[in-house]
């Protein structure tokens, strides 16, 4: 069933569809960048890509390796600095943030700091960068995660970027009207409308059970749950091209 499907492309396409023409979008490196590039080159030509390095309205020709990589300034309409773009983010002038991470839990908490204990980790990762700041300040945060069961945990080892609540269900102290808005994998789209992860739709050919395969927690389906949504072929083709 799933063999012929490129889940990475599904993920990029599905996330891109959440970005609207005219949105301003704070973009991280990797899959988030590809999703934003795809949206800009298809249904949202007026999407404004903003990178933490200070580049505003970028249109990178290739997926950038870092937010300071040459393809970003070479295509940006303005090169500001970190203070410009994080300042705009905090001032509420950026609509949406795109993030990925090593681990996510059902509260949308993200970990990009350590696997294991902070003081003696099994694996030390790169840390927040701007991820914590985006998750704390963006009106909407879209989380992009490949469907790899090890990434989905009951509770993250370290809360780098706060989701809706902590382990005991206490709301994180945070600005109103911020937090994770949805999570996209290569198999499905999830929402956080009720504060915890719920399944909104799956992408063909994946059924509900496929989208939840290997998850260590129960996930309810949304009231308007849609199964095996067909992603647009033009987007999939363009995503292939942009991935290089």
């Amino acid at each position: 069933m799933a063999e012929a499907v490129n889940e990475d492309l599904n993920l990029v396409v599905a996330a891109s569809l959440s970005l609207k023409d005219g949105d301003t979008c704070f973009v991280g490196i990797g899959i988030p960048s590809l999703a934003a590039m795809l949206a800009k080159h298809s249904h949202a030509p007026g999407l404004v890509l903003i990178y933490e390095s200070g580049a505003v309205d970028a249109d990178p020709a290739i997926p950038p390796l870092s937010t300071g990589s040459p393809c970003i300034p070479d295509s940006a309409l303005m090169i500001g600095d970190c203070l410009d773009v994080f300042g705009d983010l905090q001032a509420g002038r950026i609509d949406v943030g795109l993030l990925s991470a090593a681990q996510v839990d059902r509260f949308g908490n993200l970990n990009s700091t350590v696997i294991g204990d902070y003081r003696s980790p099994k694996l030390r990762l790169v840390g927040s960068g701007g991820a914590h700041d985006i998750a704390s300040l963006a009106p909407k945060t879209i989380i992009l995660m490949p469907h790899q069961p090890r990434r989905f945990v009951a509770f993250v080892d370290f809360v780098t970027s706060p989701g809706t609540t902590d382990w005991e269900g206490r709301p994180h102290p945070r600005r109103e009207n911020t937090g994770p808005s949805e999570l996209v994998t290569g198999r499905g789209r999830f929402s956080f409308a009720g504060g915890v992860l719920t399944l909104a739709e799956t992408f063909a050919p994946f059924a509900r059970a496929d989208a939840l395969e290997g998850f260590p927690f129960e996930v309810e389906a949304d009231a308007g749950f849609r199964e095996e949504v067909v992603l647009p072929a033009e987007h999939l083709a363009l995503a292939t091209k942009l991935s290089g």
Partner: protein
Amino acid sequence: MPAAAGEAIKSKLVPLAEAIGEHLPDGATVFVGGFGHAVPFAAAHEFIRQGKRDLTLCRSGTDILFDQAIAAGCVSKVIFGYIGNPGVGLSHAFNRALAAGTLEIEEWTNFSIVLRLHAARLGVPFLPADILRAGDIGGASIDVHSVTCPYTGQELSAIPALRPDVALIHAQRADEAGNIQFWGIDGDTREGALAAETVIVTVEEIVPADVVAAEPGRNILPAHRVAAVSLAAGGAHPSYVQDYYGRDDAHYSEYDRISRQAEELAAYLDTYVYGVADRAGYLALFDDQRIESLGLGDKEA
């Protein structure tokens, strides 16, 4: 270089070894410029060669420069928002030093590091921000205190100023007096430079004063804020310099492989840092094809 009649220009131009030797003491807190762009590798390799010790290195998003300085034993503490090999992976020497317990860390976020530098630049002890109120970063390696706005009652985090002793900056060009011209991705480079007590700059080119004066909009640092300027053409390789040369992505990938093993990384430092006297010697280690494909040879002094 011609000066105005009857007036001698005070030159800040010195060889890099002298700039580092005189202005970067052991134990200093050092801001490292370069947000992916114009990372000051020549200056870092020089302080490694000089055997500087007990340094605290800081910036928001680090580059493999941090990893090399840690591997060389120059660093006792890092203050950062992100530490890794950008677009490639982890910072392996950093991870080994952490595991060995030989390195202290202060782990923030990129925005909070920018605010820490900005506070120092503004000469205030902290800036309020609506971050670090939730999650595990506060309390892990740092304490983040809160502050209540006296006007609105809003609870915010008080992000403390970070005033580096020294900033190392790489830029496109300067005049002998030390007026620095820089363009392209800045990130937090200018924040860090203006926050620091002492600024050491390396440049691709030294140009006549009238070239700098003709385009004051490109100046990011005036001469009176600069302690020393040194010529280091190619000084940001393997990162890049806007309008001068490209980023050597392959070198970052090679470094990932090499730095996974302490012995291989030691051999790398022997070759690329200890084994050469200066940047010209470093660049001579790369074959002509790579130098040419990056555009590194074009503007050598």
